[in-house]
Structures are given as structure tokens and as C-alpha cells.
């Protein structure tokens, strides 16, 4: 069948609703219509907000731009011709690179990003323009939606460019130098190192063996020794930068290629995924899976002994176009359903209806309405008219519920009558009317998401964790030279500057002293 066109989904949505009604028993009719209205309102209210949230990280959209600039500039100079200008333009990419790779600039960028983020948490985000009227610059710079504002995104792009430039011009050459293991053949050069020592009556070979035992890579050439450890610690910062770029790229893809949507579905109803999912960016293309129909088999909550909610569960079935069940899973918070790239999260809930027996007639479905949503306290209520329904002064029974556990009943005068559990089947007598509460039907608030950026972002996360750990390693280098019977040792390290001398002293203490030292013997050892 045709895949849903995103632009059509809105019309489609309204058109689709009657099909929902067909799936229900006729006496549910009244309540279903209300529910549909609710579904619509929920999704319409939530989508603009969601749009805002998910558009947030269009981070490195321009990052390629800067690279392009560098690559594009040579053709430009061809058009312009003039030879001094040509020379200038030939140097331009290199200049741009060196400016971008400049450490103070990068630090400045990071500081500005940190400051903007702090400002973003201080200014209330996403309010109506009137809200900010006292301070003109908030709207001018777009700081009412800080994390999608051009200034912020521009800075992130600049930072990405700096990351690339720094990796290219600074880090890779450092590694090239570090990989070249070089012997130092003069005692003076060795003594210039941060750590120096000399062992009388020792052999450079013994030192080599001990260093090897301590995990060093040791190279010997005649009287000279070179050893190093923790070379990975030099490579790792490059990895950190690449991981950051990966995360930024993944974030961009998330922002431009994802779908989101949320829906509140009463237990027993169903919806089509394509009706709920709204595209976020220009790269959002609907897939075959959008035609999948989701049926909410059951919504229920677990409670602690104290009565507080411990978990929300929704039993979902997915049906393909042929009406075949392709998947069934009970989701809860922290355990979403994943199907063909679509993820369904349990995020919210409400009470949709009460099933009530009135004088053993029914059961009737009474739609519940939210009465007060103050913070996290939810309260739902419904009303059962008694007597003449057409009169202007209708009286009846009010029923209130905070959760699906217990329902509080009030009589025509508004006086408290009793509390009933839905499964107890105990009747309540209110002014001669016998009421039995058969069931409380909940609605499950579901969030749907398709995010093609997640694999890339996760790859970046993994790489970042790994490379940050490796970055903690200190790259230590040791040089030694046999000078007669003495061994001159010098060494340096890039991170563990305090531990290194201690470690060296400990290792050098292990080097055996050659008792019968004579020049000939040491020569034999060296040879």
C-alpha cells in the first residue's frame, strides 16, 4: 500500500477517526466520541512543543560548510586570476585552518557555549513573545529558544570546525613525532629531560629487562636504550575529537531526519503509527512500518504497599496491513517497544472511563474528565445524572478518582458516600440508586519516535567513553646510555608527572649493581 505522505497525515488523521469507532461496541459510542476528541487535542497540543524540542540540535549542519569553503576556495581563485591575489588565496585555506586550530579560539568557543547554555537555563524557554517584552535582546538573538537559536548553533558549528582543524594540524603531527622512537646518543641530551638519574656500576641491559617487566616497550641499540609506555594516551585525544564529531553528526541527523508523536489511547482502542508520527526535518521520510496499527490491549499500574504507583504497563499488539499480529509486548517506563526503527515509549497516563452498573442495568461507560492537574497530582471525575435528565437542574452522583485503585463517590447533595475499588463489586446505595463500579479504564500516554541518528550517536558515545579512558594513560618515555660503567637515565611523561619520578626511582632501585665492575666486563655486556 502507499506509504503515508507526511504532509497528508493531518487530514488523514481526522479522516481516520471514524474507523476507530467502528471497532467498538455500540453502547460505547458516547464515550468513544469524547475520547477521539481527546486524542486529537493531545496530539495537537503536543506536536508543536515536540517540534521545538527535537529541532534543537541541528548542530553541525554547517560543519561541512566550512570544510567546503576550504575546498571551494581554490576554484574561486582560478576565476579571479591575479597572481598576488592567487598567492593569497592559495594560502587562505591554510590560514583558515591555522586560525581555527588556534587553542585560545577553541577555548573561547567552549566558554561562549557554556555561557549560552547557562543563559538558556536561566531564561524561561519557549514562552510566547510577549513574555520577553522587557528585555529586547532575548528575542533579537532568539534566546527564547536558546538551543535552536542561530547564535548557539553557529557556535557549535564553529567548534566542530575547530575540532577538525585542530585534529588535522596539531594532533596528527604530534602523534607522528611521538611514534618515531628515537635514541638519544649524548649524555647531555639525556640529562636535559625532566627526570634524570645515573646509576654507577650498572648495565643498560638489566635496566631494559626491568623496564620490560614494568610494561615498557624497550629498544636497545649498542649502548643506547629507548623505552616507552602508554603511547595510546597520545592517540586517544584524536579519538576524543573524532567521537565528538560523530556525536555532533548523529545529533544533526536526529534533528533533521526524525519523526515524533505522542498519543493518549484508552485501553481497548487502536491507532495507526503514521497518524501519530510527525516529521521533524527535511530528511524525515516515512517508512513501510508507518502503516502498522497499534492496539492497546491493556493498561495497568503496579502499586507499592503505601498506595503509590510503582510502575505503568501497557500491553501493545502491532498489526500489519493484512491484520496479522506482528509483535506483542508489554511496555513500561524504561522498557520501550522497538519495531522496524519505531520506538514506542510509555510516558503518561490518564483515566478515560468508568464502567458502572446502575440498579443492575448496564454496564454504562462514563467518560472521565481531568479536573485538576496541579503539578503531578492527577484527579479525574465523572457524573451520573439521576432523575429527570432534561430538566435544567440536573442532580446526580459524582465519582472522583486519583488512580485506577479506588473511586470516591458523592451523592446529589455533594456529600461523601463511600470509596470503592473497581474490582470489589460491592454496591453503593445512594438515595435508592444502587451503583456498582465494574471497572476503571485507563488511557496510556505513548510517545512514538523514529530517530535515525541514534546508532551514530551511540557509536560516538562508545568511542568517547573508550578514548577518554585511554586518555588518562600517561605516555612515558625513557632514554638511557651506557657511559663506561655508569648508566645515565633520562625520562619524561606527559601526564603523570608526580607518579613518574616515584615509579622511576622504584624501578631503578631494582637494577642490580655489578660488583666486579671492570671496563672489559661492561663491554662484554654491551656487546
Amino acid at each position: 500500500m502507499n506509504t503515508l505522505n507526511p504532509s497528508r497525515t493531518l487530514n488523514h488523521f481526522l479522516l481516520k477517526t471514524p474507523s476507530l469507532q467502528l471497532k467498538f461496541k455500540t453502547h460505547h459510542f458516547n464515550y468513544i466520541r469524547k475520547r477521539n476528541l481527546n486524542v486529537k487535542i493531545v496530539s495537537e497540543l503536543k506536536t508543536p512543543k515536540n517540534k521545538k524540542i527535537s529541532k534543537k540540535i541541528i548542530l553541525s549542519e554547517g560543519a561541512p560548510d566550512i570544510v567546503e569553503n576550504q575546498q571551494v576556495s581554490p576554484p574561486k581563485l582560478g576565476k579571479n586570476g591575479g597572481s598576488p591575489l592567487l598567492k593569497f588565496l592559495k594560502r587562505a585555506p591554510r590560514k583558515v585552518l591555522s586560525i581555527l586550530a588556534n587553542l585560545p579560539l577553541a577555548i573561547g568557543e567552549m566558554f561562549s557555549i557554556a555561557a549560552l547554555m547557562a543563559l538558556g537555563t536561566a531564561i524561561d524557554q519557549g514562552e510566547a513573545p510577549d513574555y520577553y517584552f522587557q528585555i529586547w535582546w532575548i528575542l533579537f538573538f532568539g534566546f527564547d529558544h536558546m538551543f535552536t537559536s542561530p547564535v548557539f548553533l553557529g557556535l557549535l558549528v564553529l567548534l566542530a570546525a575547530s575540532l577538525i582543524a585542530c585534529t588535522y594540524t596539531t594532533q596528527i603531527p604530534i602523534v607522528k613525532v611521538a611514534r618515531r622512537w628515537n635514541f638519544l646518543n649524548s649524555a647531555v641530551a639525556i640529562r636535559k629531560q625532566e627526570f634524570t638519574d645515573s646509576l654507577p656500576q650498572a648495565s643498560v641491559r638489566d635496566l631494559g629487562v626491568i623496564l620490560m617487566g614494568a610494561g615498557y616497550e624497550v629498544f636497545l641499540k649498542g649502548p643506547s636504550l629507548y623505552a616507552f609506555k602508554g603511547l595510546a594516551g597520545r592517540f586517544a585525544p584524536i579519538g576524543v575529537h573524532i567521537a565528538m564529531l560523530l556525536i555532533m553528526a548523529g545529533g544533526t541527523l536526529s534533528a533533521s531526519g526524525s519523526f515524533r508523536g505522542s498519543v493518549t489511547v484508552p485501553q481497548g482502542l487502536n491507532f495507526v503509527m503514521g497518524d501519530v508520527l510527525r516529521p521533524n526535518g527535511f530528511l524525515s521520510f516515512p517508512t513501510e512500518a508507518f502503516n502498522t496499527e497499534v492496539h492497546v490491549n491493556r493498561f495497568y499500574m503496579d502499586y507499592y504497599d503505601s498506595g503509590e504507583v510503582s510502575q505503568f504497563h501497557t500491553d501493545l499488539s502491532l498489526f500489519d496491513l493484512d491484520g496479522k499480529e506482528v509483535m506483542r509486548k508489554t511496555i513500561c517506563v524504561n522498557d520501550p517497544l522497538r519495531y522496524n526503527g519505531i520506538t514506542i515509549y510509555q510516558t503518561d497516563w490518564s483515566i478515560s472511563a468508568l464502567q458502572v452498573l446502575k440498579d443492575n442495568e448496564g454496564p454504562f461507560n462514563l467518560a472521565m474528565a481531568p479536573l485538576k492537574i496541579n503539578g503531578d497530582k492527577k484527579l479525574y471525575g465523572t457524573f451520573l445524572p439521576i432523575g429527570d435528565v432534561d430538566s435544567s437542574n440536573v442532580k446526580g452522583i459524582s465519582m472522583l478518582a486519583r488512580d485506577l485503585q479506588s473511586i470516591v463517590l458523592y451523592d446529589q447533595e455533594g456529600k461523601f458516600v463511600g470509596v470503592r475499588r473497581p474490582d470489589s463489586n460491592l454496591p453503593v446505595d445512594i438515595g435508592g440508586t444502587k451503583i456498582v463500579i465494574v471497572d476503571a479504564i485507563g488511557s496510556s500516554g505513548l510517545d512514538l519516535k523514529i530517530d535515525p541518528g541514534v546508532p551514530i550517536v551511540y557509536a560516538g558515545f562508545g568511542a568517547l567513553m573508550l578514548t577518554t579512558c585511554v586518555s588518562f594513560l600517561s605516555h612515558s618515555q625513557i632514554w638511557a646510555l651506557q657511559d663506561g660503567t655508569t648508566v645515565i637515565i633520562g625520562g619524561k611523561t606527559n601526564r603523570a608527572k608526580i607518579e613518574f619520578p616515584n615509579e622511576m626511582n622504584r624501578l631503578l632501585d631494582q637494577v642490580p649493581e655489578i660488583v666486579n665492575s671492570s671496563p672489559s666486563k661492561s663491554e662484554i655486556l654491551n656487546g
Binding site: 504507583v309 517506563v333 515509549y345
Partner: protein, 327 residues
């Protein structure tokens, strides 16, 4: 009930041991350094560490989840992390300036957590649905370990700044150790001043030798600098793992790996600041006091991230306002 009493007893024991330890430290520094006392204070720290470990384990057993679900528990865990950072150099037998930072930090956090200010929070609470995940352990423990390490590291940097910019080192008269921060500096200051005076005594020279003083000062600054960078890079590592595991968790629970929630944003700001710190250290022109200034900014930012955001009660990390926590 027995567990509850045991927890109570452990709290008191650890707090009293720790106050004795602090007194010994102060005596050592202010009056006279007695080696025996110093050793016993270290043993006291070990005992207090064992107590607080037992306390956390007991809480874990009777609440059935990792004791990291509210402010009291996270403060206790922070204090425990300080003890850990304190213990590692102790068991590896090298004496360093970290001790002067970690010991008071551990004490002050523990004292603050157990003080009357937070009494109503001592009862262990239930876990809201969003917190019921294996990620809780990984994310929260990593975050708090990183806070502890970063706080230690940045306090060392603050001490470095104080020593660098202080013209006059006669600080015996000025002792303001009311809060954690000044308390911790003054320990380092005392230690430093003690070192100088010992050196002077040993030389048996009444003339103040400026060269000698400057040499000591230089050496101390170098050491503080190295230690603070080492501890901060460790904390940075934990912070990275903590933030990323949090992001993966958020993708499971909230539907997006990054929501620009205030706490998230501030954790990212902290991360950025310490990333700046680590970058300033790669450049020789910016090393030393410049990087120390960045680290001391980080000190305040960690507190905003840790407390400020929760006190304001905004965003997804303040569990009161999360839609699913309703009862």
C-alpha cells in the same frame, strides 16, 4: 528495625571518629606535628570509611535499591567517594596534598548530610517508575564519583591560586574554616606554612631566606598543579561516562538521548569547563594559574549542577514534577 538502629549507630560512630580525626589534623598543623598522631588519624579515616560503607550497604539492603535516590543518600555517597579518593593514596603509601583536601571535604559533606537541615530526608523513599532501571547504578554512582573527584581537583587548584597570589604568608592568625571551601584551603595553607617554618627551624636561621621560601613555594605550586590535573582528569573520565550513560538511559526512559533539561545542561557546562581546563594544560602559556582559575570556576559550577538545579525543582531531574511520578 535492627538494620535501622544499626544504620543510626554507624552514622554516629563515623561522624564522631571523623571529628576526632579533624581535631588531630588541626593539632598537628597548628601546634606540633606528631607522627604517631598522624598515623592514628589515618587509621581513624579508615575506620570511618568502613562505617560509612556499612551504612550505605545497610541502606541498600533494607530499601532494596542502590542508596542513591535522594539528596541525603547522594550526599552520603559523595562523602564516601571522598573517602575512597582519600584511601587510594593511603594504601599506595604515598603522602600527598590530596589528604588535606579530601579529609575535610568528606567530613563536611557527611556533617551536612546528617545535620538537622535534612532530617526529613533520612527516611528511605520509594523509587518512582522512571528511576527503576539498571542504569540508575551506573549513571548516578559515576556522576557522584566524578563530582567528588572534580571537587577535590578544583579545590587543589583553588589552593594553588591562594598560594600564588598571596603576598604575605603569615596566615596563622587568619583562620576562617567555617565552610567546606575555606576550611579546605586553610588546611593546605597551614600545611604549607608549617613546612616553611620547619624548614626555617631546621636551618636554624632567623633571617627569612627569600630564596628558600620561593623554592618551597615553587615546589608546592608544582605539586598542587600536577595533583589537581591528575585528579581532575580522573573526575572528567567519570563525568564523561556518567553523562553518556545518562544519555543512553534517557533514550530508554524519556524518548530522547538529550533533552536540554537544566540538570543535563549544567552537567554539560561542567563537562565543558573541565574540558577547557584540560585544554589549557596542553598549552604552556596557559598552564599554572590560568588553568587553576578555570578549575576554580568549575568548583562553583559543580555545586550549581549538583544542588542548584534540584533546589529550584525544574526539569526532568527533579522527580517531583515529572509527570509519571504522580500517585
Amino acid at each position: 528495625m535492627i538494620l535501622f538502629t544499626l544504620e543510626h549507630i554507624l552514622t554516629h560512630i563515623s561522624l564522631s571518629i571523623v571529628s576526632i580525626v579533624i581535631t588531630i589534623y588541626l593539632m598537628n598543623l597548628l601546634v606540633h606535628e606528631i607522627v604517631g598522631l598522624y598515623d592514628s588519624s589515618e587509621k581513624g579515616m579508615v575506620a570511618a570509611f568502613l562505617c560509612i560503607t556499612g551504612l550505605l550497604v545497610i541502606r541498600w539492603i533494607y530499601s532494596g535499591h542502590l542508596p542513591l535516590s535522594d539528596l541525603y543518600e547522594s550526599l552520603m555517597f559523595l562523602s564516601w567517594s571522598f573517602y575512597i579518593i582519600h584511601m587510594i593514596p593511603y594504601f599506595r603509601n604515598h603522602k600527598n596534598h590530596l589528604n588535606e583536601i579530601t579529609a575535610p571535604s568528606a567530613v563536611f559533606t557527611q556533617g551536612f548530610a546528617t545535620s538537622g537541615l535534612l532530617t526529613e530526608m533520612h527516611q528511605s523513599t520509594i523509587l518512582v517508575p522512571a528511576l527503576q532501571s539498571q542504569w540508575l547504578m551506573m549513571h548516578v554512582s559515576m556522576m557522584i564519583l566524578s563530582y567528588a573527584a572534580l571537587l577535590c581537583g578544583s579545590l587543589l587548584s583553588v589552593a594553588l591560586l591562594v598560594i600564588t597570589f598571596r603576598k604575605n604568608f603569615e596566615i596563622f592568625s587568619k583562620c576562617k574554616s567555617n565552610n567546606l571551601q575555606t576550611g579546605a584551603f586553610s588546611f593546605v595553607k597551614f600545611k604549607y606554612a608549617n613546612e616553611i617554618s620547619n624548614a626555617l627551624k631546621w636551618k636554624n636561621n632567623n633571617l627569612i631566606s627569600f630564596r628558600n621560601r620561593n623554592y618551597h613555594r615553587y615546589q608546592l605550586i608544582q605539586q598542587l598543579d600536577c595533583w589537581s590535573s591528575r585528579v581532575i582528569s580522573l573526575g572528567f573520565l567519570f563525568l564523561t561516562v556518567g553523562i553518556l550513560s545518562g544519555a543512553v538511559w534517557a533514550n530508554e526512559a524519556w524518548g530522547s538521548y538529550w533533552n536540554w533539561d537544566p540538570k543535563e545542561t549544567w552537567a554539560f557546562i561542567t563537562w565543558t569547563i573541565f574540558a577547557i581546563y584540560l585544554h589549557t594544560r596542553t598549552n604552556e602559556n596557559l598552564q599554572g594559574s590560568n588553568s587553576a582559575i578555570v578549575a576554580s570556576m568549575g568548583f562553583f559550577i559543580i555545586w550549581i549542577c549538583y544542588f542548584g538545579v534540584n533546589l529550584l525543582g525544574i526539569g526532568l531531574h527533579s522527580y517531583g514534577s515529572f509527570a509519571l511520578t504522580s500517585n
